[in-house]
Symmetry: C2
Subunit: 387 residues, 2 copies
């Protein structure tokens, strides 16, 4: 029985927890992405060390390679990947749109050409649940369509209505009570379409709700009003998951709007490209300055890289194209986001979230705080006072 308990609130922001068969998680939280059955370059022990709580696995990638049956033969993702904690799997819908070629969407589902070998593959709500049950995550996602940005209003409307019918089919075939299925609200950046999606989706009373269809190309000034609108209209007593987000500033703003869960490849991808996340913004370790700096990336960070290495050493590894560089920068960036949500939770508990977030933004944006960020925090603080 999935239970979500809110422990602290300030404005729309909240600290909460929910239990899974593989342990409890505390929100707000950020989930590292293990696309192909591994968080790129990072071991399960390291994920535990940096206090990851839940790992995301990608249904699309894993069904194509190695195939869900092999994962199931290992007892699901925990046995396959050796990460002993909770998992969440997405439904495959988003990757079909972004990676599948020649896709054809019908009421039945999606037929697409695999990006690996060009073979034709079908994904339906029923098949997505079947795969997700084999992968054995603790939280699974309804099969949805995520329209591209921009898309026609009419397309978004018909797509979100179909996504609701797909949700119903997912729930009909779902057979494992220990897995919590979250529904996904769509509607692009249009308030009326978000409202329609909410009205059609909420009645299913799933144990959690995701905000989908964002961070797909729109600006942050376009995205955050949609987050604010949707998050406030989702149930107070269920977790809210903003899919595919994000950057540190996204997390701080969205937590202020009442979002509880996040996932994104950003920390590991930008780490592989040589960038380190800090409170002062993103540090380019490929530039010349770090090559002679004998301090860690972040003296307040407790990750392995910051406890052991200077910027000069890491910059050397990058120049020398040594594998330890992307590994350590990925580890640091994940830990940075975990520490960021830990600090957010502490501020919410202390009733100082919006002040903390505004100060954090001043430093992160070097004084040039964008309007979308300030507006998001003001909205979250003011709306909370009206609740």
């Amino acid at each position: 029985m999935f239970e979500f308990t809110v422990a602290y609130r300030q404005g729309l922001a909240r600290v909460a927890s929910f239990s899974t068969p593989r342990g409890a998680v505390t929100t707000p939280m950020f989930m590292p992405v293990g696309t192909q059955g591994t968080v790129k370059g990072i071991s399960p022990q390291e994920l535990l060390d940096i206090q990851s709580q839940m790992i995301l696995g990608n249904t699309y990638h894993l069904m194509l390679r190695p195939g869900e049956k092999l994962v199931e033969a290992h007892g699901g993702l925990p046995g396959f990947t050796a990460y002993p904690g909770p998992f969440l799997t997405d439904s495959g819908g988003f990757q079909v749109m972004s990676l599948g070629h020649l896709r054809k969407i019908t009421e039945e589902g999606v037929v697409f050409k695999s990006h690996l070998d060009g073979s034709m593959v079908a994904l339906t709500p029923e098949r997505s649940i079947q795969v997700q049950e084999a992968l054995g995550a603790d939280v699974i996602m309804a099969f949805d369509e995520c329209p591209p940005f921009p898309a026609e209003r009419e397309y978004i409307r018909s797509s979100l209505e179909r996504t609701v019918r797909w949700l119903e089919r997912c729930l009909n075939v779902k057979s494992k009570p220990e897995q919590a299925l979250f529904a996904i609200v769509q509607g692009g950046i249009h308030e009326d379409l978000r409202e329609l999606s909410l009205e059609l989706t909420r009645p299913f009373e799933t144990p959690g709700f995701a905000i989908g269809g964002l961070a797909v190309g729109e600006s942050k000034a376009e995205m955050f009003p949609a987050v604010a609108f949707t998050a406030q209209r989702l149930p107070e007593d269920k977790p809210r998951y903003l899919m595919g987000v994000g950057h540190p500033d996204d997390l701080v703003a969205a937590i202020g709007l009442g979002v509880d869960m996040f996932d994104c490849v950003y920390p590991t991808r930008t780490g592989r490209f040589g960038y380190a996340l800090t409170d002062d913004g993103r540090l380019n370790m490929n530039s010349s300055a770090p090559r002679t700096q004998l301090e860690p990336i972040d003296s307040e960070c407790d990750c392995y890289a910051c406890r052991h290495y200077t910027r000069a050493y890491l910059a050397h590894l990058l120049r020398a194209e040594e594998m330890l560089a992307p590994r350590m920068l990925s580890l640091h960036n994940l830990r940075y986001l975990h520490r960021l949500v830990e600090r957010a939770r502490a501020a919410i508990e202390a009733g100082t979230y919006y002040e903390w977030a505004a100060q954090w933004g001043q430093r992160f944006f070097k004084g040039q705080v964008p309007e979308w960020f300030t507006t998001a925090l003001q909205t979250g603080q003011a709306a909370g006072q009206r609740l």
Copy 2:
């Protein structure tokens, strides 16, 4: 004061130990290679976990990038790389030969074109020691010339005589008593030239001696008689280091001939290419069989990969080109060689080394034991009885 203490002997094989400013090491031992200031893909914590004893750093690579001054500013290799144990640095001589372009060798030293930026760089005995003192390893190597294979006898002779003059120059400028300098015996695969090199080198009474100029392209049937000849003529009370070797079978044969120390990029390089070392030979994880095998690489291995992962999972990572694959295979292969020398030490202690080694060879070579291997073990066992 460098002290080498032999604890057990059987035949020419021995278990011994020596102390360094950063801790004691027990031989026979294998040193992971940290070419550019990192054992590729492996963290210092992992090196400790797999019970590495001493890490090799490359003078040639580190002097070119990032430059020895930056390493020195970190307090030497331990501060730079965060590996807290003993280090050994080579002299740069071997890499100048194998990587430097347009090299010119004179009595003074070597001038070569950097493989990184094409700039002209000089390396002399004095400069090699200067760099190695800045890098701060516990054991440093004399600057030598390693002739290619094949080379003219006359060239090998004049080269080894110059190497002895370079050894004298190294000792003359060496200024840090806490660093132990090992001399290197050359002579190719010619017994008379090895004898000459030994006669000229032994009088310097350095705290250890390396066997250089092997594993450079000659066959194992050519190499091992040279190892046998040289090792037996090196002092009993000093460590013997066979440079750039090797494969598991090389270690088992050379330990039987009284060699104490080894280094090689083989375990990490073959791991990056998808191969796993086992007692049954080298397992090709790129082949189809491992993709469905739910057992570890080696059920007797205690490395992280073998304790957590199936062959099927690792084979999946390889196919998916995930960084965790080369990382885990490198870790396993290093641990395999460390376990191999641990088992060799236990067998020497028990007085069963040559029996154990013969049995190990039967399995490793799948019954087709090559003559060089059997001969090496017989030589080591018989010569020991004559001692």
